[in-house]
């Protein structure tokens, strides 16, 4: 198991946790605001999707930072013919 494979596993598990966290936030909103009325339901949906979108972008930024770090400290197979 190399760092690249571990990073790929991290990307999937962190994505899964983010989905569950966004849904937990929606559950808190539903329990706090209730589900009566179109406006409240709309607010819940908008906040829920915004939270998911924001979490996905944060996930991308952390993944990118880790990816660049692993890529700049490569292991075997990077110094072969034509390697940089």
């Amino acid at each position: 198991m190399d760092k690249g494979f571990l990073l790929a596993i991290y990307s999937v598990i962190s994505g899964w946790i983010l989905i569950l966290m966004s849904l937990s936030l929606i559950k808190v909103l539903i329990m706090t605001l209730g589900t009566k009325g179109f406006l409240i339901a709309l607010i819940e949906v908008v906040v829920g999707f915004s939270a998911l979108g924001g979490a996905l972008y944060l996930w991308y930024l952390t993944l990118r930072a880790l990816f660049l770090r692993v890529k700049s400290s490569p292991g075997k197979g990077h110094g072969g013919p034509g390697g940089t």
Partner: protein
């Protein structure tokens, strides 16, 4: 119950046999008519016939139409129609490439076709929340799901055997979920998809004898979205297809918009003597293959094995989420 088991078995056998026969018929014709692509990840860039999409889709459609006739299911007919439209969009793209913004927009149409079948209930099961009522927003989610799944599967169709094997690994753990929900139309559609993909996988695995093309990958993505929609398991399919989203989302975010795979200027990976590794250029987009090869260069079969392992992990996470974290 017994009827559904026999119908599921029939769907599997029919799609498997039809797909095998269509592949045997189609591949020599593709070669004789010059429908050939280069396998860019291998030394010498061997020539491989493409697209095998028609063999995969037609076998799926025949099997589904026979079963829907026997079961009297409108939902199965809706799946055949919507996946057929996605297949045609893919075939159009194979013959004459569509623009990077046109393709995702066109992929909303299969979702509309499935919606007008009248078999979609906008009440998806969601982890943590249970069964939701999304009467207004569901249709946007449905259209987005078709585009995201189809493009995700398309992005995953990059190495020999990677797309079909990762589809099997990520969605097999969802079979118990469909059975637990009693969604037999979803189960039949998924099993028919497996049946039509097995002969393709045998020919597409390393070293590939055929490529599926966009007609195949867009059809498979639409089929998975259709199964998710008719069984109300959208969230669980999204979790199980997370490795597909990793590639799609991070490429989209790192290049800052919609681009065709062939139009991305700095490639995510570079190939040297059959060894694939992440492009050292900091501007190179992130893809799942780039992540896997970020530490060390790897040969194609090893990367595919690792993608299958990751897909299986996400499939099992999805199954676990359904049985342990979803109120029913």
């Amino acid at each position: 119950m017994l009827t559904w088991i026999s119908l599921t078995a029939l769907a599997m056998v029919l799609s498997l046999v039809a797909s095998e026969l269509f592949h045997r018929t189609l591949i020599p014709r593709l070669v004789s008519r010059g429908y050939i692509s280069e396998d860019v990840h291998k030394p010498g860039r061997p020539k491989v016939p493409e697209p095998a999409g028609p063999a995969v889709y037609l076998s799926f459609a025949i099997s589904m139409m026979v079963v829907s006739h026997l079961a009297g299911s409108v939902a199965l007919e809706g799946v055949v129609a919507s996946t057929g439209l996605a297949f045609l969009i893919g075939l159009l793209d194979d013959l004459s490439p569509l623009g990077p913004k046109t393709k995702p927009l066109l992929l909303i149409l299969p979702a509309l076709l499935l919606a007008v079948s009248g078999e979609i209930v906008p009440r998806p099961y969601l982890p943590i929340l249970g069964r939701a009522r999304l009467y207004y927003t569901y249709w946007i989610v449905l259209a987005t799901m078709f585009t995201v799944f189809s493009n995700g599967v398309n992005m995953m169709d990059a190495l020999n055997g990677m797309m079909p094997s990762s589809v099997f690994a990520s969605t097999l753990p969802l079979v118990p979920v469909l059975i637990a929900l009693g969604s037999y139309t979803g189960l039949i559609s998924l099993i028919a998809l497996y049946g039509s993909l097995i002969p393709y996988y045998i020919r597409n695995r390393y070293p590939a004898k055929v490529f599926g093309g966009d007609s195949n990958s867009l059809f498979v993505g639409a089929a998975l979205a259709s199964v998710a929609a008719i069984s109300n398991t959208e969230a669980f399919f999204a979790i199980s297809l997370l490795p597909f989203m990793v590639s799609g989302f991070s490429i989209l975010a790192s290049i800052g918009g919609l681009l065709e795979r062939r139009d991305i200027r700095v490639r995510p990976v570079i190939v040297e003597g059959g060894v694939i590794r992440a492009n050292p250029d900091k501007k190179a987009p992130i893809s799942l293959i780039a992540i896997l090869t970020s530490y060390e260069g790897k040969v194609e079969p090893r990367i595919v094995k690792e993608v299958v392992a990751i897909s299986l992990i996400s499939g099992l996470l999805s199954c676990f989420t359904f049985f342990l974290l979803t109120p029913r």
